[in-house]
């Protein structure tokens, strides 16, 4: 138990009022400021670091490997959280959420296919150095930024290898490498808290504590996309359910502010 009864009731009553009064005066759709850098890891195809004002920090490095197309999933995310064990549910559930989102992105998979037999496998490795509120949004921002900076080596052998048995050959010149995000944008997962009839973007730990539930909504190519689902916020007490009409408000909120989040992260 991290908060006192009176703190929680103060917070809850502030957040359910209309309009909601957030403890840091944010508007419902306002994301906390983040800073980001790209291409700062050696030995990667793309990388990013995202830091929030509260000190939360996430690093993503993207690497590739040529595999036979029959060898299962082409996108392999992993999440390490400093100080957490491998078998802890949090990093695993975050990795699962990323896997779900990235695999539901046909544009990305299309970029990975090399030939009839071979493809790139994309390793999206994330390290959360520290966090104060639920790290899903921050993680997703970092992955978004890293994918935007990712380049793949140029294929110089034939694309059609149905008849020949040939291992793909690449141009050694890194300047010839092609960016993976050509005419599309990677998916962004936004975390929202539902408190009463209100929806709040980028909730803090305290806000989640008094929320009915947390919801993640995927934003891709300027539209809401799958997956959309409830997120376990671990407080366990929020089983009271919420009004389905709030879901529409959540859609509206994401629709109206996701573009701002995207422009914040790429600037």
């Amino acid at each position: 138990m991290k908060f006192s009864v009176s703190e929680l009731s103060y917070l809850r009553s502030s957040l359910i009022s209309s309009p909601p009064l957030r403890p840091d005066c944010r508007k419902p759709g306002q994301f906390r400021p983040v800073e980001s850098e790209v291409d700062w890891l050696p030995f990667t195809n793309g990388s990013a670091r995202v830091r929030a004002a509260d000190g939360s920090e996430c690093i993503v490095g993207i690497k590739t490997k040529v595999v036979a197309r029959s060898e299962g999933s082409l996108i392999e995310p992993s999440v390490d959280i400093t100080g957490y064990k491998d078998n802890d549910p949090l990093p695993n559930s975050l990795a699962e959420a990323l896997r779900h989102t990235l695999n539901a992105c046909p544009e990305l998979t299309a970029q990975l296919i090399l030939t009839e037999k071979y493809a790139f496998r994309l390793y999206v490795d994330c390290v959360v150095l520290s966090f104060t509120s639920h790290p899903l949004s921050l993680l997703s921002l970092a992955v978004f930024r890293a994918l935007k900076s990712t380049r793949l080596p140029q294929l110089i052998s034939s694309r059609d290898d149905t008849l020949v048995d040939e291992i793909p050959q690449f141009n050694d010149d890194w300047d010839a490498a092609q960016p993976i995000c050509t005419k599309w944008s990677p998916p962004l997962v936004l975390l929202l808290a539902i408190v009463g009839d209100n929806v709040l973007l980028d909730p803090t730990d305290a806000e989640l504590e008094v929320a009915e539930t947390a919801l993640c909504i995927t934003w891709k190519n300027n539209a809401i996309a799958a997956p959309i689902k409830n997120v376990d916020i671990g407080s366990g007490k929020n089983v009271g359910g919420y009004n389905p009409k709030v879901l529409l408000d959540a859609y509206d909120l994401v629709q109206s502010c996701a573009a701002q989040v995207v422009s914040m992260i790429v600037s």
Binding site: S4, S6, Y10, S14, R22, D24, C25, R26, A53
Partner: protein, 300 residues
């Protein structure tokens, strides 16, 4: 001694001039006249620094104050803390120090007046008074040999906190003042714990006198007679007050971002400077934070 004293004076000058900053393993002095305080250690009668910090001298005591570090409790400090554990006739309280502080059952006001003895019943219902997660303000009463603090709340000024918002800042940014409780613009009261834990609340009639130093025992007894002081429910707080509380919280964060020490005058000035931003959510922006703090500091 007089001759050695004057020698010492020049020695002091030399020590203090030493760039103002020492780092671990750096020799401070080989003069054995000095007593060694915090942040130092001795080897072969030579005093060395154990931390990166500044040399401080009180009479014959030399110590090094680290640049950063957790809050170090001092007797008499007014702190804000959070209960972490309810134990045998005592609570453990997180005050941001390296160890939790102890609050003995005998060091709090209980319903029925302070002068009565604590009974076994009291022991059984300790959670009725204070439970895990609860916030309180208290004074550091004593320090144990291992450095842990013991608290007391035996004054009307101290006790369980409600009607507000908790903010945490580095203890090194809280400036020590005559009082740590302020009445602020907009019906707000702030308890600025020396330990960097801050409580911003709606000012009420009972805590209207910022520091009722001279409350008579009778009044104290009356006040503490009921369970009122351990209530969890908040009083009605209008939205405007909640907004003001949050704006103050953002102003505190602006000072922290700029590493400016927090006191009443500065906070008032930053609040004044923040008013031009009608949407207090804009205060989260780093350039705005720097801007309002700069403006505020210029007015002081």
């Amino acid at each position: 001694m007089s001759s050695s004293d004057s020698e010492n004076e020049s020695d002091v000058e030399m020590i203090l001039e030493k760039a103002g900053l020492v780092t671990p393993g750096e020799m401070i002095t080989d003069d054995t006249i000095w007593m060694r305080g915090h942040g130092t250690y001795a080897a072969d009668n030579v005093t060395y620094s154990a931390v990166a910090g500044t040399i401080e001298r009180v009479n014959k005591l030399l110590s090094v104050r680290p640049l950063r570090g957790r809050y170090i409790p001092v007797i008499g400090d007014h702190v804000v803390g959070r209960i972490t554990e309810v134990g045998n006739r005592r609570w453990k309280v997180d005050i941001g120090a390296s160890q939790d502080a102890v609050l003995m059952l005998g060091s709090v006001n209980l319903p029925g007046g302070i002068l009565r003895r604590k009974s076994d019943d009291d022991e059984l219902q300790m959670r009725e008074f204070l439970k895990e997660g609860d916030l309180l303000n208290a004074e550091i009463q004593t320090l144990y040999a291992d450095g842990a603090a013991a608290l007391h709340t035996r004054s009307l000024r101290y006790g369980k906190l409600r009607n507000g918002l908790f903010v945490q800042v580095p203890a090194s940014l809280v400036l020590r003042l005559r009082t740590q409780v302020y009445r602020l613009e907009g019906g707000i009261e702030m308890i600025l714990g020396i330990n960097g834990y801050i409580w911003i609340r709606k000012a009420t009639s009972t805590n209207a006198n910022a520091a009722p130093m001279d409350v008579s025992i009778n009044r104290l007894e009356q006040e503490s007679n009921s369970m009122e002081i351990y209530k969890d429910e908040n009083d009605p707080i209008p939205p405007s007050t909640r907004q003001t509380i949050s704006r103050y919280a953002n102003c505190i964060q602006a000072l922290v971002y700029n590493e400016v020490g927090i006191n009443e005058a500065r906070l008032r000035a930053v609040y004044e400077a923040s008013v031009v931003y009608t949407d207090a959510g804009e205060l989260l922006d780093n350039t705005v934070k720097t801007d309002i703090v700069k403006q505020a500091m210029a007015t002081l």
